[in-house]
């Protein structure tokens, strides 16, 4: 797989309302403009959640199909970005439940602590890859919160909305996952 460093949400989301309005009016051509706006962030979110390239690709397509089928139910007062991610969340959770052995939100035990020097090298590619693996080892619910907070730049309230969980649960998952990574790395 090709990896590329991408921070936050792609450019072009400012065009969201107009394209979304076109889709709401039944213009299926608007999908050609709309999907690329979310391609990177939605795929990344799904990939981090399910840890599987093929599954992430299928879920990406299913998310857009579900979004296009239900676009009339979308409330324009709400962020399309968050609405889309909540659809993706539901589909991914269904997939993970079917896929069994992975545990969605079980307790996890911190692994062996790495060397102190890891902190200074945090931005080093090797450490970054190690951190990526550590995130991948977390249960899906914790990976999800970390991805939405740090890669999608969502506020806790927005994460609660997307994941349809209480704010306190989001906070607790964020706290525990940070604590886990802190103990594993530093």
């Amino acid at each position: 797989m090709t990896w590329a460093v991408t921070i936050a949400i792609e450019d072009g989301l400012s065009a969201e309302p107009e394209v979304v309005t076109r889709l709401r009016k039944g213009d299926l051509d608007s999908l050609t403009d709309l999907i690329p706006l979310y391609q990177q962030s939605l795929y990344r979110y799904l990939y981090r959640l399910v840890n599987d390239q093929a599954a992430a690709e299928d879920l990406f397509q299913d998310t857009w199909l579900r979004a296009a089928q239900n676009i009339r139910r979308y409330d324009p007062a709400r962020s399309f970005h968050h609405w889309l991610f909540s659809i993706a969340h539901n589909l991914a959770i269904d997939y993970l439940r079917r896929r069994k052995p992975e545990v969605l939100a079980a307790d996890f035990v911190p692994a062996a602590t790495l060397q102190e020097s890891a902190l200074q090298q945090m931005l080093d590619a090797e450490v970054s890859a190690e951190l990526s693996r550590a995130v991948g080892d977390l249960p899906a619910m914790y990976r999800e919160v970390l991805t939405l907070r740090f890669q999608e730049g969502m506020k806790l309230e927005q994460i609660a909305q997307v994941t349809q969980t209480p704010l306190a649960t989001v906070k607790s998952r964020l706290h525990r996952s940070m604590q886990y990574l802190r103990e594993r790395f530093l």
Partner: protein, 147 residues
């Protein structure tokens, strides 16, 4: 004033920017006089930066185009199916209206009673509808295979 341990427990959320304003103020006030917590916070900050800069998986080439194409085809197939169902429902209703409206003429010409007329019409109706359903089913199967 929060105790050292209470503040320390909040540091992961402070680094994640997930504390309320009041909590953040308390944490900052404590850190101003606690080098140990300042050091811990700096580590968590580095972790936060590492998380924000994780390598991002690249989507497969043409994923957006492929998705747009698939979604479009599936929605069109659904719309066509709806149209077919509406058409069949209209034709069934139309057939019954014509059958009932034609009965006075049939009785005048052939002297057939209404129950006999309805029996004949129903048998012919089912045969015709069966053929129509078969043709539409084959067409739908062909469309699905194309998708």
């Amino acid at each position: 004033m929060k105790s050292h341990n209470e503040v320390r427990g909040r540091l992961p959320l402070a680094a994640a920017g997930a504390l309320t304003r009041d909590e953040q103020v308390e944490v900052e006030a404590h850190m101003a006089q606690c080098p140990e917590c300042r050091e811990e916070f700096a580590r968590l900050e580095a972790l936060r930066m590492g998380l924000a800069n994780l390598p991002s998986p690249s989507p497969p080439p043409f994923l957006a185009q492929k998705t747009a194409h698939i979604v479009r085809r599936r929605l069109e197939a659904v719309e066509e199916r709806r149209w077919r169902i509406r058409t069949i429902a209209f034709l069934v209703a139309f057939t019954w209206v014509v059958t009932l409206a034609a009965w006075p003429v049939v009785r005048w010409v052939a002297g057939i009673e209404i129950l006999t007329w309805l029996l004949y019409s129903t048998v012919w109706g089912w045969l015709t509808a069966g053929c129509a359903a078969l043709i539409l089913g084959l067409h739908a199967k062909h469309t699905r295979e194309e998708l």
